[in-house]
């Protein structure tokens, strides 16, 4: 709160405030309208008899009972959590190592490596669909979580690289020199001094990467075909066919699958927002 006040030394004028409240209202409606409709509709017994945006006439829990007893939704959350977390952690460890080197050392080929890593930002993964699909198949990783983790580790490296390198660049060189004089090896300097200091930057990159992978659909639906190994976004693509005309079941399943991330987010919104804004916005 203090910070916000400092940023607005003259306070907010009345006209601005009215406009501001309209914008806040509109974004809440935009974000909540689809979700609230799905929740309302999921309690309707016969959706065709009560179409549109209305309150359900009577609360029907059939869909939820069926979804929770039969679908085994936890399996998919577990798969998503495993692949997204492993992918993000591996990717961040790998990139904090290389971005430390790029930010701190002079060596031949540095420019080339930097240029290559930054260029990956402009390579759309869909253009590489077939080669990567083929690669995963040849490695014997098709239809395994390991294959997905491998792809997740390698994708989206440019943004993480940029965020972490920029953070390393802000750390004073003296800290490192002191550690070296005290007899730390290169690896010790990195593990004990630089990595802990760069934690805020690494967190930002990690949260961004994790959110990206948690929502990832393209590879998730392409590289895994066994339903028991699918991630949450991938299993969603099966819903329309597996529920076909059971609208109640379909909508209940959607609600069940979107609620845990929303709860998770509400619990850690402070953490997410601080990480995404680079620590500038307090949650």
């Amino acid at each position: 709160m203090k910070k916000i006040k400092e940023n607005n030394p003259m306070g907010v004028q009345k006209g601005e405030a009215i406009f501001g409240y309209i914008v806040l209202g509109v974004i809440c409606v935009i974000a909540l309208f689809p979700i609230i409709w799905v929740v309302l509709a999921s309690f309707k017994g016969d959706l065709l008899a009560e179409p549109g945006f209305t309150l359900p006439k009577a609360l029907v829990f059939d869909g939820y009972i069926k979804v929770l007893t039969k679908l085994g939704i936890w399996k998919y959350f577990l798969n998503s959590a495993i692949t997204a977390t492993c992918g993000a952690v591996l990717s961040i460890i790998m990139l904090s190592m290389s971005s430390y080197i790029i930010a701190r050392f002079q060596f031949r080929g540095k420019k080339l490596i930097t240029a290559c890593l930054m260029a990956t930002m402009f390579v759309p993964v869909s253009a590489l669909t077939f080669p990567v699909y083929n690669l995963i198949k040849n490695m014997g990783l098709f239809d395994t979580r390991l294959g997905l983790i491998f792809v997740y580790t390698c994708s989206g490296i440019a943004i993480s690289f940029m965020v972490i390198r920029n953070y390393f660049a802000t750390i004073p060189v003296e800290l490192e020199e002191a550690a070296r004089i005290d007899g730390c090896t290169y690896v010790q300097t990195f593990v004990k001094i630089m990595f802990p200091i760069a934690r805020p930057g690494i967190f930002t990159a990690g949260v961004l990467a994790w959110l990206q992978l948690w929502n990832e659909f393209y590879w998730g639906s392409l590289l895994v075909i066994d339903r028991t190994k699918m991630t949450v976004p991938a299993i969603l693509s099966q819903f329309t066919t597996s529920f076909s005309t059971d609208y109640n079941g379909l909508l209940s399943a959607i609600v069940v699958i979107i609620i845990p991330p929303v709860i998770l987010f509400c619990c850690c919104s402070k953490f997410f927002i601080e990480a995404l804004s680079g620590g500038a916005v307090k949650g």
Partner: protein, 304 residues
């Protein structure tokens, strides 16, 4: 081992994982799609791509541009989504983050609510919008019927209209970029605003002359993200129309040719991949050019 050798070893070891990842996941596939775009490679010779005869080396490109029925449709849609993404998402992100930075009562709540769609994934939002657009029970149909009584068509199958239906399913949800921009706005030193106040810059003027120029690098990032995510749109197309009624995107036709189709055309899918990378680079260059242009004209103004 002397210090120099140890240093070299350390650098090499720490760079190695990233370099392997780059070579395996980016360099090799890019070379492969480039090379195979000049090959004959489809469901008839799955294991062995064959180089096209010299006099017909560009056969795949010719096929894509002249014969393949969906290429121009997909290109038009993808470029359209990129343009719409930039025109809507950039101003929206900017306005929302400036409003949020004012610290009005309830803005923390609104901010947290606005990120929810980004947390539940575009796949889930796609599926939800599929229900919203449903011709028999969706609320959107109900709204249309208020203006056009007796309207029963499925808007996802009406060419032209479905383009905008897909736009609405993703374009307003830019919570993550809004927070990134909000972070940058909060990082602007308060002294600048105090100075502006003394100079008499208030309200809109203050945002135009102080906030926006100072966060321009982030606005450029937001623009690039909006353009590329629109250009690469796949999830929404898959969930809402599955490519029906003129809504295929470039990513969609690549995946269809390479994997989903019963008569897979690997070489031609890779050819479209080459074209996609190329056009993506052009888009990014245009954005870079536009932003450098503004900087230059700004500098001239200051000079005068």
């Amino acid at each position: 081992m002397n210090i120099k050798a140890r240093r070299t070893l350390f650098i090499t070891l720490f760079l190695l994982p990233t370099c392997i990842c780059f070579l395996v996941f980016y360099a090799y596939p890019i070379l492969q799609i480039l090379a195979t775009s000049f090959c004959q490679w489809d469901y008839t010779n799955m294991t062995s791509p064959k180089l096209l005869p010299m006099n017909d080396l560009f056969a795949n490109y010719k096929y894509i541009f002249r014969e393949y029925p969906y290429f121009w449709e997909a290109l038009r849609n993808s470029l359209g989504w990129a343009l719409v993404g930039v025109c809507i998402q950039v101003p929206l992100t900017l306005v929302v983050s400036i409003v949020l930075s004012k610290g009005l009562k309830g803005s923390r709540f609104a901010r947290n609510v606005y990120i929810i769609p980004s947390v539940i994934s575009s796949a889930a939002m796609g599926l939800i919008f599929l229900q919203l657009y449903n011709a028999r029970y969706g609320p959107i149909q109900q709204i249309i019927q208020m203006f056009k009584p007796g309207y029963t068509e499925n808007i996802l199958l009406v060419p032209g209209v479905n383009f905008w239906a897909i736009v609405c399913a993703y374009v307003f949800f830019c919570g993550t970029t809004t927070i990134m921009l909000l972070g940058q706005i909060h990082a602007i030193p308060a002294e600048l605003y105090e100075a502006a106040k003394i100079d008499g810059a208030k309200g809109l003027k203050r945002e135009l002359y102080i906030t926006i120029p100072l966060v321009k690098p982030t606005i450029k990032t937001v623009t690039t993200l909006a353009a590329t995510s629109g250009f690469l749109l796949y999830n929404e197309v898959f969930f809402l129309t599955n490519g029906a009624a003129g809504t295929k995107s470039i990513s969609y036709i690549i995946r269809e040719l390479a994997i989903t189709s019963t008569r897979t055309q690997y070489a031609r899918a890779n050819t479209i991949g080459v074209v996609q990378i190329f056009i993506g680079l052009i888009l990014v260059s245009i954005i870079n050019f536009v932003f450098s242009l503004e900087k230059r004209s700004h500098r001239n103004e200051v000079g005068r």
